[in-house]
Symmetry: C2
Subunit: 415 residues, 2 copies
């Protein structure tokens, strides 16, 4: 692909206006947002975006699950180059996680069409629904799963919120027919590009505004249970104990320490533990914990889990503890597409935006979309590495850098 002449300027104040206007719908906790899929706030936010997409010159439609698409036809037709993210939030979340990627796509596509006219390939702006699973915990990536055909018949009746209402009922309440979900399937996409806040401290640590994402990490959640022998904390000598808490301590130290030694991008987290009977003067009978282990490269991902397995088996056997482990979910690593990485990298270099290349340690809609098309992502620096909180923040200069890099890549891919 020859290096085209490309230059666009973006007005920070106009972008800020979009962020604050969208953030006002479902505003919560001062700077936060509480916007759950199919709730009135979500409906109002999608309606506003539909209006903005229309003003940007795109043809707007809502698909069968409520994803919003704004399309610009391409002079040469073919598969579409798509950019977007999600507007549902954590409860409460911030103004940036997801929403910034929809606004970025909207602003970029509008500016491209205004400056360069219709593209060769179709371009679409996409606002996805229920990425977070914040209303329906088992419905994470609902919108992108519909597009990729990963929602099975009957799922909509089985997916429930905390009050026991089905997502099918919630869809009905906003005029969507769950029976039509298969219609949301797309098989005519050339690329999906997602701009997202980093949600971590790597860019801040590296003093860069943006990152080109090389891969989305593989994530495995394992529930591990250690069963020992419950006994009196005073009357049982150390040498005769089979103490699952002591076994847990050695395992947790080994598992987390291994990721430390591997260094970036390996991460291993033990976030949840349950102990029985959990009393100060009783050697516990059992300890259960969750093991969240991530690596963005397939070989390293497999090696990480193999090491974990061997380490836990050895410690449990040596300490006379019964070990069971159950993989709760396993999302293999998703490499970003080399051509999209190249488009983003060339865009940043041509614009003089200093960037880092890094893997995403969090899951994203792009991971799902990779099932049907090449994907790529741009990260924008997060203040203090924070997200999923009203305090999450990205600065306007950083956001403008991200949108410029995204627009340059869309130009390379669609023009």
């Amino acid at each position: 692909m020859p290096q085209p002449a490309f230059d666009l300027t973006f007005d920070p104040a106009a972008i800020e206006h979009l962020i604050l206007t969208l953030g006002a719908i479902g505003a919560h906790s001062g700077t936060g947002v509480w916007r759950r899929v199919y709730d009135p706030e979500w409906v109002a936010a999608q309606a506003l975006l539909a209006e903005w997409m229309g003003q940007a010159g795109t043809v707007v439609r809502q698909d069968a699950v409520g994803n919003l698409w704004g399309r610009v036809e391409g002079t040469e037709g073919g598969k579409a180059v798509v950019s977007g993210s999600h507007i549902d939030s954590q409860c409460p979340g911030g103004r940036y996680d997801g929403a910034l990627g929809v606004i970025a796509a909207l602003v970029a596509v509008k500016a491209l069409v205004a400056a360069y006219g219709p593209p060769k390939r179709p371009m679409e702006v996409l606002s996805l629904c229920e990425e977070e699973g914040s209303r329906f915990p088992t419905a994470g990536f609902w919108g992108s799963r519909a597009i990729t055909g990963r929602i099975a018949h009957g799922d909509a009746d089985r997916v429930l919120d905390a009050q026991g209402n089905s997502i099918a009922a919630a869809m009905n309440s906003v005029g969507l027919d769950p029976g039509l979900i298969p219609n949301a399937r797309r098989n005519d996409l050339a690329a999906f590009l997602e701009l997202h806040i980093e949600q971590g401290p790597v860019l801040e640590d590296a003093d860069r505004s943006v990152a080109v994402v090389s891969a989305i990490t593989g994530i495995r959640h394992t529930k591990v249970t250690l069963v020992g022998e419950q006994n009196h904390a005073g009357a049982f000598p150390m040498d005769l104990r089979r103490d699952p808490m002591a076994g847990f301590a050695e395992m947790a130290g080994g598992l987390v320490g291994h990721a430390h030694r591997l260094g970036r991008p390996a991460v291993t987290t033990i976030g949840r533990i349950e102990v029985w009977p959990n009393a100060p003067a009783i050697i516990p009978r059992d300890v259960s914990f969750t093991l969240d282990a991530r690596h963005p490269r397939a070989d390293d991902y497999a090696a990480l889990h193999q090491t974990h397995h061997a380490m836990m088996a050895e410690i449990a056997a040596r300490r006379g503890l019964a070990l069971t482990s159950e993989v709760q979910f396993d999302l293999p690593p998703t490499p970003c597409d080399p051509a999209i990485i190249a488009a983003l990298t060339q865009s940043a270099q041509a614009l003089g935006v200093a960037f880092v290349e890094m893997a995403s340690g969090a899951g994203h809609d792009s991971q799902q979309m990779a099932a049907i098309c090449p994907v790529g992502m741009v990260f924008v620096r997060s203040k203090d590495g924070r997200s999923h909180t009203p305090e999450e923040f990205s600065s306007l200069p950083d956001i403008v850098d991200g949108i410029r890099v995204l627009a340059g890549a869309l130009y390379r891919l669609a023009y």
Copy 2:
């Protein structure tokens, strides 16, 4: 003290009859007992014991908190030699924890008087109340605390059960006046000897029926809290984390491992942990845990806590975690009285009962009684080291060994 001629035989069947008859009051879960202080089952059990104490030739009285005393006057008067334990149980507990010590004292005193007539010093059989704190969690050692004057004015109104009823109301319901608690105080005791099941596996491991207890362990419960930084389990690199779970793992390994290296009789247990927010994909913000650390020798007890403190401070500082610790209670080690240890040891040797000398890792009424008189204890082997469960069990031959050793010591002290 010259070695007197001493020999008594005990009928195992008669002892078993007492154990099973007492165990039938509040029987629970097959072989267990559910007998809480001031409940009807406890009242019935004390009434039965009063009858048995009368049959044994003692003069019976109930004190101000409901402890039951059966007294045989001594021909030379003076302070009394007392033996007993408690009959309240865990919920459910077994037939042996506590109750066996009351039955042993009853059987021993009855046999001594029958064989040798009245003692020189007064002897008393004692059935204490609410050692376990199983009905009123903050009223552990209620009976022995009354005898030693450790219940403050107003305590009876402040001590509540799980339903919010005060122990004062419970006392009233069985005809006891909480205002008279100070009357339970005794300052005329020469010795308190308690036979108890071991509650641990040391005797089983050593293949011995009984132990002479050298000291009752010091017990300190500390609540430790580690505060780090809550972050996304995927997006935060290991090198930038301040993860209190990883800090906990290192501390727990170090603390428990230290007791392992010290060996018997040091024990350290982490039985309870609370994590916030305790979610699989979130690096926790804080981890709290309880540290139960015990040693029966004062110097070693102090050194143990000093080592723990230094270890936790170093790990917390190195990992950037805020450390707070709160001592929830601290019962210093209680050495048994050398003269009582000698009486028990000589008794066992004279009777040809092979025994071990060991510290008690559990707390006992004797620990309280040590405030007002010399104390000593005999342990009887526990099957599988178990207690606080309906499955706890001690064999009749072991029980008879224990009672013979106890009776020989009472003979040495009172005759």
